[in-house]
């Protein structure tokens, strides 16, 4: 009996530790951080693209200085907000970040509408290339955001369910993370015409 006692202890300990979610919660938190890094990278990619876009549009559409200015200003505002990995738990910082990004988004889409008036610009290979890059970037942002939200949801669930919530309160003290909210206006379904 004495012989097996230590191994019984160790086995019980391992089962307890793996059963209480200590490892799972930390793994899920790391997954949230990784997903957030992708979100940041995707947004950064868009930021890097904007100067080129502005240059190209400027060459063809000299009268749209105002729209261009709005884009440049929104970009610099986005650049001034630093969001670190600790701040994704912070609802206020997160909504600030999101507001700045969606302002840039709407400035960009205004620019894209304006561009419709300049057939020469639309036909130029330079602009078409940029358009592809911008589209690709927007798509990446979308994908990264969806995945981030999924990771956040999994993490937030994992720290709330029993018995993880007890482990979390006693040992880890992990805070729930903030998901991206739907953009204002996105809750209305788009009208489909046949």
């Amino acid at each position: 009996m004495k012989r097996i006692l230590p191994s019984v202890f160790v086995l019980t300990f391992i089962i307890l530790v793996s059963g209480c979610g200590y490892n799972t919660m930390q793994m899920k938190e790391e997954a949230v951080f990784a997903a957030w890094a992708d979100v940041e990278a995707a947004y950064q990619r868009r930021n890097d693209l904007i100067p080129n876009l502005v240059e190209v549009v400027k060459g063809y559409a000299k009268h749209e200085a105002e729209t261009l200015k709005a884009v440049v200003e929104a970009r610099s505002k986005v650049g001034s907000i630093q969001i670190s990995k600790d701040m994704i738990g912070d609802a206020k910082a997160m909504s600030q970040f999101q507001a700045a990004q969606s302002e840039l988004q709407s400035a960009l889409s205004r620019l894209m509408v304006v561009v419709e008036r300049y057939p020469d610009l639309k036909a130029s290979q330079n602009f078409r290339d940029l358009q592809h890059q911008l589209e690709g970037t927007e798509n990446r942002i979308n994908v990264a955001r969806t995945r981030y939200n999924k990771a956040v949801q999994e993490f937030n669930t994992s720290i709330r369910i029993f018995p993880n919530n007890i482990t979390n309160r006693l040992l880890l003290n992990l805070k729930p993370k903030e998901p991206f909210k739907a953009e204002p206006g996105a809750e209305k379904a788009p009208q489909v015409k046949f």
Binding site: R3, I4, P6, S7, V10, L11, I14, D38, A42, R128, D129, Q131, H132, Q133, E135, G136, T137, N139, R140, I141, N142, V143, A144, V192
Partner: protein, 295 residues
């Protein structure tokens, strides 16, 4: 014939609504091969030719490139749908993420090239966009789908050729064998542990456990399984005796158990896509790179 009782009516209505719901959201069709021409846009001759070329491309470069044509998007956004396809099929090798999906929606006249993360450096959004604009679009506009697909596939293959090389034959096997070993090691330690508690339990576990592990991993014949069962029975009885010298195994043994558990289960059952000749995605990841266009 009995009539359906009135009470069941709401239930049927619910079922009907439920099936409508699932019919409305566009499903990802099963992956049949390299060319999945669900919209019947490509002639059989060209289909066979592309199928062969893409198989050869995966053999030499390990890059997986599949084509999917669908009759209609049914109102779904092109990019959302192609991402759904990418996440379902998992085209591209795991770790290399070298998959390409060429999606064409016939009714909406839309083209999308979805590029795996590992190929984004070579096949940029810009390059993918140019393939659509300059290579495929003009031919599609003329109604020359065979030519458009062939030229598009050739352009994309030319761009991505050489980015990855297929693994040498032995490499994949080596990693799998080591993962089998972890599983066996883990099982051995567990057996040892149970054997110390009760010889009878250990023998039973051994007789059942060893053959079932081999069955899951290698699918051996019945005779081999019986031999393994006997071997497991003996191991269950004698392993604890061999190690009964002292308490020294307590810490080390359990450490091995824990490590073996993670490694063994994770790699043992993950499975590579092309291991047994049937075609499937290799577990590649997509991050939304690529380009879209209309013709």
């Amino acid at each position: 014939m009995r009539t359906i009782p009135k009470k069941a009516f709401p239930f049927f209505l619910f079922l009907l609504l439920f099936s409508l719901e699932s019919a409305l959201s566009l499903e990802v069709p099963p992956l049949k091969g390299y060319v999945n021409d669900y919209a019947n846009m490509i002639s059989p001759r060209v289909r066979a030719k592309l199928e062969g070329e893409l198989r050869e491309f995966e053999r030499t470069d390990s890059t997986q490139f599949v084509i999917l044509t669908i009759p209609s998007l049914m109102g779904e956004a092109l990019e959302d749908y192609s991402m759904k396809v990418a996440e379902t099929w998992k085209i591209g090798q795991k770790g290399k993420d070298n998959g390409i999906i060429l999606l064409v929606a016939n009714k909406e006249r839309k083209i999308r090239i979805e590029v795996g993360r590992g190929l984004e450096g070579r096949l940029t959004d810009l390059a993918a966009g140019r393939v659509i604009d300059l290579v495929m679009k003009p031919m599609f506009k003329r109604g020359d789908f065979d030519g458009g697909f062939t030229a598009g596939v050739h352009a994309l293959v030319d761009i991505t050729r050489g980015e990855y090389k297929a693994d040498a034959k032995g490499v994949r096997k080596k990693t799998s064998v080591s993962s089998y070993l972890t599983t066996l090691f883990f099982a051995g330690v567990l057996l040892l542990f149970i054997g110390t508690i009760s010889k009878f339990l250990g023998a039973v576990m051994g007789a059942i456990g060893l053959p079932s592990i081999f069955y899951l991993l290698f699918a051996p014949s019945l005779f081999v399984l019986i031999v393994l069962g006997l071997l497991g029975l003996l191991m269950g009885i004698f392993l604890p005796l061999i190690f009964s010298g002292g308490t020294g195994y307590g810490r080390g043994g359990n450490g091995g158990w824990f490590g073996g558990f993670g490694g063994g289960w994770h790699t043992g059952f993950g499975g590579g896509g092309d291991s047994f000749g049937t075609f499937g995605g290799g577990g590649g990841d997509f991050g939304g790179g690529g380009a879209s266009g209309e013709w």
